[in-house]
Amino acid sequence: MKSIIDLVYLVPLFPLIGFLINGLGRKNLSKSLSGIIGSGVILASFVVSLLIFNETRAEGFIATTVNLFEFINVAGLNIPFAFQVDQLSALFLLIITGVGFLIHVYSTSYMHEEEPHHYARYFSFLNLFVFSMLLLVLGANYLIMFIGWEGVGLCSYLLIGYWFKNTEYGNAARKAFVMNRIGDLGFLLGLFFIIQQFGSLTYTEVFSQAEGMFKGDAIIVVITLLLFVGATGKSAQIPLYTWLPDAMAGPTPVSALIHAATMVTAGIYMIARSNILYTLAPVSQTVVAVVGLATAILAATIALKQNDIKKVLAYSTVSQLGYMFLGLGVGAYTGAVFHVMTHAFFKALLFLGAGSVIHAMHHEQDIRKMGGLAKKLPTTHWTFLAGCIAIAGIPPFSGFFSKDEILVHAFAANPVYYVIGLAGALMTAFYMFRLYAMTFRGTFRGTHEQEHHLHESPWQMTMPLIVLAVLAIVAGFVGIPELFAADAHKLEHYLAPVFKASTEIAETHHVEHSTEYILLAVSITLIVLSILYALNRFSKKPETGEAEGFGKVLANKWYVDELYNSIVTKPLNGLGAFTNRFIEKSGIDGIVNGVGKSVQWGGRQLRLMQSGQVGSYVLWMVLGILILFVITITILK
């Protein structure tokens, strides 16, 4: 009997169809029809994903590979176009299509000012984005993953630059694509190493061979580090994170899609998928953990001083992704995936909430010009608040459980990780409630015109907010730590088969329950204090001026963009100009033209000999005889 698993190709197929219909028919479709098609195909995918998810929950479910067709079969390397259904991919399918669907519904209203053909273009790009992400998580080998990997890069480029008349947006889009490409090169080289070592790119073959290898094998370290380079691009980690905050140039729902359901979680998924390789490479794990932690802190400090509502959220994403990498680095694979899930809910919620605010404020994004919106936008306010509490990590909201799981594992691996991680968490609570207070509390600081038009958004926008808010509140209960109840971590139980091999060989650091209680108490207390301080301070006296002193450094993002500009962009342009001017034109071309000119010159001189005067002919003849004579004599000698 055919099971729903065999129909898994439907999941990416529906968005692909949506992309084609909206893309090809963009001039003929009405806006409502575009929106219905765009959202409908994702809903269809979500339904199929749910059915698949249900199958994978069955006890004793075995990961299944679904072969579609032969893709590349050359030089002993067989790479089929195949999908793999297991607990990890099924969970990601749910997140992508579920959150993706809500974002599509929200967009139908948010983008209502667009002209019909642009509206259809928007939805076709959105569908393509979801399609690419689904390929990424469904692939049964690294090449299919890479197709999705580059595909989401392309879609982010198309959507960030959606308003293509604006040059700045176009620059942001290019930056995103190029930064991702830098990472992709690392990823690609990693794939070549895998081919060389394992002769295959198929997960099952690579992982089963890897399990027989020594821990710390150099080749696995190289592979995992190169793959991680790819992850720093896609998931916005140091040093390739700077594209993500600029990516807010796109429409706000796009930011929600990039930050929550697709794209940036790709790096986390890739490492979780390759968990056995990383477990076998402790050096790489340390690199992942340290880079993640450093990114978490760096981004958090920057977020403290941003005044653009979307920028604060963007840096918070970079920071939260850092936590996920920290989790992966310390071997808390379940924790990292857990945080991907909860983060998808509350970050999508926060971005869509921000969109609702921006919508109400007539495209104003500066929180210094907001304030007191709580009364005018009640639904947006309450849901946004839920998102803030969730990301800050207050129990029983979802962010608490997932972040706590990562931090406890970090403590077990190295207490220093924990301390730094906690500092980041305090900053998170602080800047999120600074954002909340400056937006929703205090008094309104915008124009009268804006105040007059303030209104709650229509249901297409508030419905997704409510659903996401509920999820952001309750989603944590799938991962209740053992501390509170034995065997209540359903997610860990569910994902166990995926991480089985890693669990067997990883060294487990156990944390005493008593220690864990202390850690919890400390972190919750500090976070609550941090929140209260921020609420109190920014509700009464919002920061309305420009940052000064050290704050200015933070507001300018540690001048990292400027640094990259002066150490990479400018030298590259200089090198290009130099090469063009001196090597290409004067150098190589000079030689060639020189050869050409000397031939022409030689021709002109030779032509002079044919003057038609008998006297000169005689002269040349005599000279010739003389030369021949000399040559003959020298040779005879």
Partner: protein, 478 residues
């Protein structure tokens, strides 16, 4: 019989064109001739007519040379590319007008006969004959119908290719005297036993001729100038088809004739190719004229292909095979877009354009797709080739792959910069007058877009076609 038809139809059709004085008739006639050629090729492919892929007749018996044509996988692929490109070239430049159109279209078709002959010749002298037959019409096309600097540029082009051809002729004659039966036939030439020393200098005589044609760094400087100055229809022939002559000659002649030298000098050739990839990519970033940008981008792509031909492993060679076709299709797509832009606005300078997406969304979408194929995005045809070639290069030496891989990043930089400068942003006085492309132009580009995706998603038929060539080359090295 197909092999002969592929040469005869454009040859005779081309000669007839010289007598069709009226422009519209000359256009229509040459378009029909190119369609007939395409039909002959398609029938052969669909019928799997293996017998029709070779042909032998007496030619110059006193020189031991015969009119021998033979299609292996690589040449089948390239003959198909040639016959597919010509109708697209004619239809997409339909609105361009030329002085003495009969000569222009006649020479275009003669060039097709020559190019196809190069891909088919299984006789050394015949190969040389077609090599020159392909070049001579192009010299005239560039020098008569080119831009302002056409004379100087054609002169440079001539010097480069003429020196190359001359060296090859010397090498070919030497080889001829080494054959056991005083014959130019491919089998006799392949059978010549050469010492290592002989191979090492003969290798360079042939290589330089082919390297100029591809072109490989540092023999490339004729190319951007020639592309820039030629009428776009000629540029299309040059870049989509004629550069393949150099690569194909390496496959059919250079590697089988001098395998030891090819191994001996592999690092030099691959090194130059990889330098060329980066060098050309960096220069592409500096260009303002879109034609020059594409010229340098093409040099970078060819660099990867020429490197892959020398890595001596299956992955690299198969990648190069599929890329022979993909590169032709993709670069043709680029030229079509550039031709459309230039004809509408009279300029190719990015600094003078901008905002085209507003009035010409159809053109924008098609260009973006072609540009994405140009940066080898997965599921486009170029990705398959580049992935396999980089993998082959990696097997040869990791560092070549790592350094050459930088071109993956650079190509994204210059391609996206071009898209943004030409299509995005606000309209200016010039571009506000634009309109979207009509259905004929869309159809030309649609053929290319379909080819891009079909081969990018399902490359298997191409691999099956070219396996014999790859096996041949790998066998030679053993």
């Amino acid at each position: 019989m197909t092999a002969l038809l592929l040469i005869l139809v454009p040859l005779i059709g081309g000669l007839v064109t010289f007598f069709v004085k009226q422009e519209s008739q000359a256009k229509l006639w040459s378009f029909v001739v190119s369609l007939v050629t395409l039909a002959a090729m398609s029938v052969n492919l669909l019928m799997h007519d293996e017998a029709g892929r070779s042909f032998t007749a007496e030619w110059l018996p006193m020189l031991g040379s015969s009119f021998a044509l033979q299609m292996d996988g690589a040449s089948t692929l390239l003959c198909f590319l040639t016959s597919l490109c010509y109708p697209i070239i004619f239809s997409s430049t339909w609105k361009s007008s030329y002085a003495s159109p009969n000569s222009f279209y006649g020479l275009m078709l003669l060039a097709q006969a020559g190019i196809t002959g190069v891909f088919l010749a299984a006789d050394g002298l015949l190969f040389y004959f077609f090599w020159e037959l392909a070049l001579i019409p192009v010299y005239f096309l560039c020098s008569k119908w080119g831009g302002e600097k056409r004379i100087a540029v054609t002169f440079k082009f001539f010097i480069y290719t003429f020196i190359g051809s001359l060296l090859m002729l010397v090498g070919l004659l030497y080889m001829y005297y080494q054959t056991a039966d005083a014959s130019f036939s491919m089998q006799s030439l392949y059978a010549v036993k050469l010492t290592g020393e002989q191979q090492s200098w003969l290798f360079w005589l042939f290589f330089v001729a082919f390297a100029v044609k591809m072109p490989v760094f540092p023999f490339h400087t004729w190319q951007p100038d020639t592309y820039e100055q030629s009428p776009t229809a000629v540029t299309m022939v040059l870049s989509a088809l004629m550069v393949k002559m150099g690569l194909f000659a390496v496959i059919r002649w250079l590697l089988p004739l001098f395998p030891d030298a090819a191994v001996q000098y592999d690092n030099i050739v691959i090194g130059l190719s990889v330098i060329g990839m980066i060098y050309a990519s960096i220069l592409a970033m500096q260009q303002d004229d879109i034609k020059r940008l594409i010229a340098y981008s093409s040099i970078a792509h060819i660099g990867l292909m020429s490197a892959a031909l020398f890595v001596n492993n299956e992955s690299g060679l198969q990648g190069a095979m599929i890329q022979l076709f993909s590169h032709g299709v993709n670069v043709l797509g680029m030229w079509i877009v550039i031709e459309l832009i230039e004809r509408r606005f009279g300029t190719r300078k990015m600094s003078e354009l901008g905002g085209l997406a507003q009035k010409a969304p159809g053109l924008t979408i098609l260009l973006v797709i072609v540009a994405l194929a140009n940066v080898a995005l997965p599921l486009t045809n170029a990705f398959i080739g580049e992935f396999l070639m980089f993998n082959g290069l990696f097997k040869f030496n990791i560092w070549y792959a790592a350094v050459g891989g930088l071109s993956v990043i650079l190509s994204a930089i210059y391609s996206l910069r071009m898209i943004q400068k030409v299509f995005y942003g606000n309209e200016n006085i010039l571009t506000a007058t634009g309109a979207d492309i009509n259905w004929v132009e869309k159809a030309s580009l649609a053929v290319i877009v379909v080819a891009i995706f079909v081969m990018g998603v399902y490359p298997k038929p191409v691999f099956e076609l070219t396996t014999d060539t790859v096996t041949l080359i790998l066998g030679v090295f053993k």
